[in-house]
Subunit: 265 residues, 2 copies
C-alpha cells in the first residue's frame, strides 16, 4: 500500500529520485520502493518510465542508478555548471599560483553545495565531492555564504544545534554571530582547523546582481598556512569572478548564464 | 487542451524537463507549456511542484530554470560525475605535460556527451560545453566511441546522413567504416580538421568491465600537431584510466562507482 495515498504522481516520481544519495548511489527495486515510500508495483512502474527517459539506468546487476540524461539536464542549472564554467579559469589561476586546493560553493537552503574543486596533488587532502553538501558554520566557504545570507537564514542556522567537527568548530551561537560580523567587516573568512585538525581554509564572496551568490576558497595544510597572505589572493579571485558574473548579467537576464552552445572538437 | 491526453503524469513531468536545452536554459511559463506540449494550467501546476522540490527555480524575471537540486541528483550519475572524478587527475596530468585541451566523453545513444574538459589557455579554442552533445562521426572521441560501439549502433549511424562540418569531415559511409576499422586496429583515432579547419584531435578508448565505456582526447592546433607523437600520450592516459576503472569495478558492482562520501573542508 502507498504510505501516503494522497501524494501526487509528481511527488512520487521525485521521491524516487530522492532515494539516491552519495551513500546510496545504486539501489535494488525493493530498496528504491522502501526509500521512496511507494508500493513495489508503483515503484516498478514509475522506475520503468524513468529508465525509458534516461533519468535512471538499470545495470547488469539489476540495480537502479541515476542516468546520464538526468545529469545532462542537471548540467543546465545556472547555479551549477553555468557558474562553474565561468569560475573554472579563475580557479585554475588560483591553483597555478598556490598548488593548493581550490573550492567553489553556493548556498542551498541551510547548507552549502560544492560546485567545483581543484584538488592539489601535494596539498592537504580534502575529499570534497562535487555536488556534495555540507553545513554552513564550519568551512571557509560556509562562513562566507552564511555571513552574507539573508537574516532569516542566519537566524535559523544560529537557532539550530551547531555540529562539532573538531575542538575548534564554533558551536556557540554568540561566538558564531561575532565571527560572521568579522567576516563581513574584513571581506573574507578563515576556518582554522574547524573541520579537520590538519587544514585551514580562507574564503571570499562572489557577488552577483542580488548580493553574494557563491564563495571561493583555498584549503591548505594548517601548519604551513598564512591566512593573511592567502586572503588577498582569494579576495582577488572573488572580485574577478564577481566582475565576470556582472558582465554576464548585463548580457542575460539569468542569475548565472549558461555558456553559449557552440562548435566543438 | 493536452496535446496528448493519454500521456502519463510521469511523462508530462519529464516533458517539462526536456523543454530546457543549452539553447533555451530559461523559459517563461508559456514557452515551457508549449515546448512540453501541455495546457497552461497543467504546466503551471506541475512546474510549481518541480519548483517546490528544487528541480526548477523561478527567477525574479519570472522565467523557469533548471534548479540546483536537479544538478545535485544528476551528479550521482555514475557515467557523469563518477567517471569524471576518477578521470580528472589523469586529465590534469595530460594537461600538465601538453598544455593542450583535454576532453572526456561517453556515448549516449547515437551521440556523444562531453563529461569533462580542461581547456588549454593558449591552446586552440574549443568551446565544448560539459554536458553538451555532439555527433559521433567527426570528433576524435566520437570516432573512438563509434569504433567500439555495438554493431547495431554503428549500422544506425552509417545508415543516417553524416553531417559535414568541414570539407574534411567523413560523410561517405564506406570511408567511415574503413576509418573505424583502422581505429580498432591502431587503438586510437585522429580527427584531422574534421570538425573545424584549425584543430586536430587524437583520442583513445577507456575500457570498463563490458568494453569501451568512454574516450579521452587531446585537441591541438592543426598546424603544430604531430598525431604520432600525441597518440602514445593519449593511449597511456586511456590505459591508466581503464585500470583505475577496473580497480573500482572489483570494489563495486556499479558500472562506474561514485567516489565515497567523506569529510570536507
Amino acid at each position: 500500500m502507498d504510505a501516503q495515498p494522497g501524494r501526487s504522481v509528481t511527488s512520487k516520481v521525485l521521491a524516487l529520485l530522492d532515494a539516491f544519495t552519495p551513500a546510496t548511489p545504486a539501489l535494488t527495486l525493493t530498496e528504491l520502493a522502501r526509500r521512496a515510500g511507494l508500493p513495489l508495483p508503483t515503484a516498478h512502474r514509475r522506475a520503468a518510465e524513468l529508465v525509458a527517459w534516461g533519468a535512471l539506468e538499470r545495470g547488469d546487476d539489476g540495480r537502479y542508478r541515476i542516468g546520464l540524461r538526468l545529469w545532462e539536464v542537471g548540467s543546465l542549472a545556472p547555479r551549477g555548471l553555468g557558474l562553474r564554467e565561468l569560475a573554472l579559469p579563475i580557479m585554475e589561476d588560483l591553483y597555478e599560483v598556490t598548488h593548493e586546493n581550490v573550492q567553489l560553493a553556493v548556498r542551498q537552503g541551510l547548507e552549502l553545495v560544492f560546485i567545483e574543486r581543484i584538488a592539489g596533488r601535494h596539498a592537504v587532502p580534502v575529499l570534497t565531492r562535487v555536488g556534495g553538501r555540507f553545513a554552513l558554520h564550519a568551512t571557509g566557504v560556509g562562513l562566507v555564504l552564511l555571513a552574507y545570507a539573508p537574516a532569516e537564514v542566519q537566524e535559523q542556522v544560529l537557532a539550530a544545534p551547531l555540529e562539532r567537527y573538531t575542538e575548534l568548530t564554533i558551536t556557540d551561537p554568540r561566538r558564531l554571530r561575532r565571527c560572521l560580523a568579522e567576516v563581513r567587516r574584513v571581506g573574507y573568512a578563515v576556518s582554522d582547523r574547524q573541520v579537520t585538525m590538519d587544514a585551514l581554509s580562507v574564503a571570499a564572496p562572489i557577488r552577483g546582481s542580488d548580493g553574494v551568490v557563491a564563495a571561493i576558497s583555498l584549503v591548505v595544510a594548517h601548519d604551513r598556512a598564512d591566512p593573511l597572505a592567502l586572503a588577498p589572493l582569494v579576495q582577488a579571485a572573488g572580485r574577478v569572478l564577481s566582475r565576470a558574473l556582472g558582465t554576464s548579467y548585463r548580457r542575460s537576464p539569468g542569475r548565472v548564464p549558461s555558456p553559449t552552445r557552440s562548435e566543438t572538437q
